[in-house]
């Protein structure tokens, strides 16, 4: 930005006009109306087209108007504001559509029986997913218990001890690589290892948890390290200056400062794996009965349950589809609960921020 424009604009900014408060709303309505009119004349009217073209038209119009009245800098500011709001609404559309689909179809079988029955000896209607819910909680729980400590400690090593050393750099690099392991490969890996160690065809909840760990650890490390990196060095230095040992500095200063982000990361990591289907198909498998022992035989999990209810329905198909959708709804509710719980924890343990 050259000095001449800056001085001109700064001169203007005191005297320059400001658009009335609801100009944007009027302009938006106008843009949609114009688009709809033009499209109707061209007889290619469709809601999607009106929204997309109308929105673009609105952006152009508001930018031009604001440039003229308020000056270029304000106009750019406005433009980005509306673009961000637009992105946000754009992302909400699939979300709303998905959630609506899951909730409306899932409510059909969202009843007491669903949560108290398993599928043992159930054909056709009835039955429930208690076995799959228990399986999902157990498998994900084990995976979390293994992954979060390992991931957290690794992130601490990377950020607080390793620095730019060779070990730290290689761990950082390979953690990135690990994020790219396709979920099905993780499943095959766990299946092969367990078959080799405990006899051919060994499948149980624990092997499923191991497969999920491979997918979860890199997510935890990555997000945690990112959060630790953002802790201001002044805090660490202040702590050292007071003679606090490094590990206590980490535990008392660094972690509390970043705990909210760390928990968000961990919850995201759980959310990322709790819906995994492919690795659990080959490891934890399918079992219509309730099995709460992760070291015993196969164990149903919700994604696998949903998958098979949907993919191989019997006759009539409806009860199978209803169970599948109710399973998906349950899964989302579980993650919602987890998310709330994570926020509660973060709120409880985080130092109250200054903003």
């Amino acid at each position: 930005m050259s000095t001449t424009t800056r001085s001109r604009e700064s001169k203007l900014s005191l005297t320059a006009g400001q658009l009335p408060r609801f100009t944007w709303l009027a302009l938006l309505v106008l843009a949609y109306a114009v688009t709809a009119g033009v499209l109707a004349v061209g007889s290619v009217m469709s809601l999607g087209a009106v929204v997309v073209i109308g929105s673009l038209l609105f952006l152009v119009a508001i930018f031009a108007l604001s440039s003229a009245v308020e000056g270029r800098r304000k106009a750019v500011d406005r433009l980005f504001r509306y673009v961000f709001v637009g992105f946000f609404l754009l992302a909400l559309a699939p979300l709303v559509s998905l959630v609506w689909q899951v909730v409306s179809k899932g409510m059909e079988r969202f009843d007491l029986q669903y949560f108290t029955y398993s599928m043992r000896n159930v054909i056709g209607e009835g039955g429930g997913a208690s076995h799959a819910i228990a399986g999902t909680l157990i498998v994900t729980g084990i995976a979390t218990l293994i992954s979060v400590p390992i991931g957290l400690l690794t992130a601490i090593f990377l950020q607080e001890y390793g620095g730019q050393g060779r070990l730290a750099s290689s761990i950082r690099f390979f953690v990135d690589v690990m994020t790219g392991i396709p979920s099905i490969v993780a499943g095959l890996f766990a299946y092969t290892i367990f078959s080799a160690l405990f006899g051919a065809g060994t499948r149980n909840g624990f092997s499923g948890a191991i497969a999920l760990c491979i997918l979860m650890i890199p997510t935890v490390v990555r997000s945690t390290e990112e959060m630790l990196r953002l802790v201001p060095n002044e805090l660490r230095e202040a702590s050292y200056a007071l003679g606090v040992p490094k590990f206590r500095t980490i535990l008392k200063v660094v972690l509390p400062t970043s705990i909210a982000g760390i928990i968000t990361g961990a919850v995201l990591a759980v959310a990322r794996i709790i819906g995994e289907t492919a690795p659990l198909l080959v490891t934890a498998g399918l079992n219509p009965s309730l099995n709460t022992n992760p070291f015993d035989t196969q164990m149903s999990t919700l994604p696998v349950f949903v998958y098979y209810q949907y993919v191989t329905p019997g006759i009539p198909q409806e009860p199978f589809y209803d169970r599948a959708w109710a399973g998906a709804l349950t899964l989302i509710l579980i993650v919602m609960g987890l998310n709330l719980f994570g926020r509660l924890l973060a709120w409880r343990f985080a130092p109250k921020p200054g903003r």
Binding site: S46, R73, L79, V83, F84, F87, A91, L92, P94, S97, L98, Q101, I150, L153, I156, F157, L158, I171, V177, T179, G180, P182, I184, V185, L188, F189, T192, I214, P218, S223, E226, M227, R229, L230, P232, N233, L235, A238, S239, L242, G243, P245, F247, K252, V253, P256, T264, L268, A271, R272, G275, T277, P303, V306, Y310, L331, M336, P351, K352, P353
Partner: protein
């Protein structure tokens, strides 16, 4: 900002002078132990990854060394190439949609929206991460594909001269573009959530300094928030990309796959992705076929490796922000 608790406690603990020496050694011990633990965790990860690599290579070798005649899916490189292309192509398209939108949402939630709105909607967007991939698949087939089909027809009719939009348009709308859209929706919450955390950590003073100098909100974001957050944004994108490259079930359900290499977005003959192909072929595979499919998994692994090396290189060319001074 908020550190008052810890130093106070640290100094309040030693009650007697005689304990001082002991305290000192326990400090040392604690430090050593903690360092050993965290280093050990890092090494554990390397061991796990090495085990996965050994597993992949070990099971791939028979297929790589076998006579192409014996391979159930034909010559290995000819077999895997279209899938490798499809994987990168679909993931790239997905990132093209997801990255700007995610960053935009994260900025909206952190710097524009009223706080209450931001918390609520941030929470709702997080929920997208929880939807199982099977449901994304179902949504892709039943809702998105029929919805975008008219758009595809319009694109082909009006922009068909661009090779990207060449016809014939798929009769069901289950093309690579649809799959990429589904992938974009799937990675969006991951990138958004991490970017949001990163943006929230922008030093308040930087932001206020910028605003105090008369910057508009967007200028403040450009001067203070984005430079500070760049490494974090790239990290978030890499996580999202990892998911997009490896996503199995949703792509397998949404995409109408073939074994071709082309950039057409709207036809029913699309390059398949490696992960999706494994899911499609694995249940019926036997003998060398299993090895051949796992070898394609190895190729995906290598692709991820290369992509990550590229990203590392990009980040390393920028100054690392640590501790935000």
């Amino acid at each position: 900002m908020s550190t008052s608790t810890s130093p106070a406690e640290a100094t309040s603990t030693p009650p007697e002078d005689s304990r001082h020496a002991l305290k000192h050694s326990s400090k040392r011990f604690g430090d050593t132990l903690f360092k050993a633990l965290s280093t050990g965790s890092g090494i554990t990860i390397l061991v796990i990854l090495a085990a996965v690599a050994v597993f992949l290579v070990g099971l791939s070798v028979p297929a790589l060394l076998a006579d192409p005649e014996d391979l159930p899916y034909g010559e290995f490189w000819a077999y895997v190439l279209p899938f490798a292309f499809g994987t990168v192509w679909a993931a790239a398209l997905a990132m093209l949609f997801a990255v700007p939108v995610s960053i935009g949402i994260a900025l909206f939630l952190t710097h524009y929206a009223p706080r209450r709105v931001a918390t609520t909607f941030g929470y709702i967007i997080d929920l997208l991460a929880a939807v199982p991939s099977v449901v994304f698949g179902l949504w892709g087939i039943n809702t998105l594909a029929p919805l975008v089909r008219p758009l595809f027809i319009w694109l082909e009719a009006n922009l068909g001269w661009i090779p990207l939009f060449a016809g014939p348009v798929s009769g069901t709308g289950r093309t690579v573009l649809t799959a990429a859209l589904v992938l974009a929706v799937m990675v969006l919450p991951i990138i958004t959530a991490l970017c949001r955390e990163v943006f929230l950590q922008t030093p308040r003073l930087h932001e206020e300094a910028s605003l105090a100098l008369g910057a508009t909100r967007w200028e403040m974001i450009r001067q203070a928030v984005l430079p500070f957050g760049t490494p974090g944004i790239i990290s978030a994108c890499m996580l999202g990309l990892g998911r997009a490259l490896g996503e199995t079930m949703a792509v397998a359900m949404v995409l109408s796959p073939g074994e071709t290499i082309h950039f057409k977005l709207l036809t029913s003959d699309n390059p398949n992705t490696i992960a999706s192909n494994i899911a499609l072929a694995f249940p019926e595979a036997y003998g060398l076929g299993v090895n051949q499919l796992i070898a394609t998994g190895l190729v995906l692994f290598v692709i991820t490796l290369v992509v990550n090396m590229g990203a590392r290189w990009v980040i390393s060319r920028r100054r690392e922000f640590s501790g935000a001074n």
